[in-house]
């Protein structure tokens, strides 16, 4: 468990924007993960994704790490932002775009 937490810390700290999801942005395996990647695409932001279906330790561990029961989960600059519902609410209110701009993350190339 300690190892898993360390691995998760490394992932969230080494990537400005990282989405823990089921599947990949090209082939999402769940509607909520699909929605989360679509929102990030609309924000025109560069992001890493981590497919939890390929790693059972991370799949369980991320829920405890974030104290959040579901996947997808978005981290920006090491901070937990929320799942796909919160991403959608923030996007619709313009808050997600604002957060990404404030954190100075790179645009999608």
């Amino acid at each position: 468990m300690a190892d898993t937490n360390e691995r998760i810390s490394k992932i969230v700290n080494e990537n400005d924007v990282v989405l823990f999801m089921k599947g990949t942005p090209l082939f999402p395996q769940c509607g909520f993960s699909n929605r989360a990647t679509a929102i990030l695409d609309h924000c025109n932001v560069a992001f890493e994704s981590f497919d939890v279906l390929q790693d059972m330790e991370i799949r369980q561990g991320i829920k405890e790490f974030s104290d959040w029961p579901t996947i997808p989960q978005l981290y920006v600059k090491g901070e937990f932002v929320g799942g796909s519902d919160i991403m959608m609410e923030m996007y619709e209110a313009g808050e997600l775009q604002q957060l990404l701009a404030e954190k100075g993350v790179a645009a999608a190339s």
């Binding site: 959040w68 029961p69 579901t70 996947i71 937990f80 519902d85 919160i86 609410e89």
Partner: protein, 77 residues
Amino acid sequence: MAMHAAEIEALIKAAIPDAEVEIVALVDDGDHYRATVTSASFAGKPRVAQHKLVYEALGGRMGGELHALQLSTAVPN
């Protein structure tokens, strides 16, 4: 494992007594719902904290027997 909308509503109201809960079934399979929860107790709390209060009310079912609950929270006007 499926849950009834009434069961979800009852759990939320038991934990957040002033909550107004609106639940819509997205698919008629007892597993895909959209819930809107409005409560004064959300005032001043960030969205993540508001959603966590609802997840706590559901007592660990979220992500388990309840896979798909699209959630939005609000403070009454």
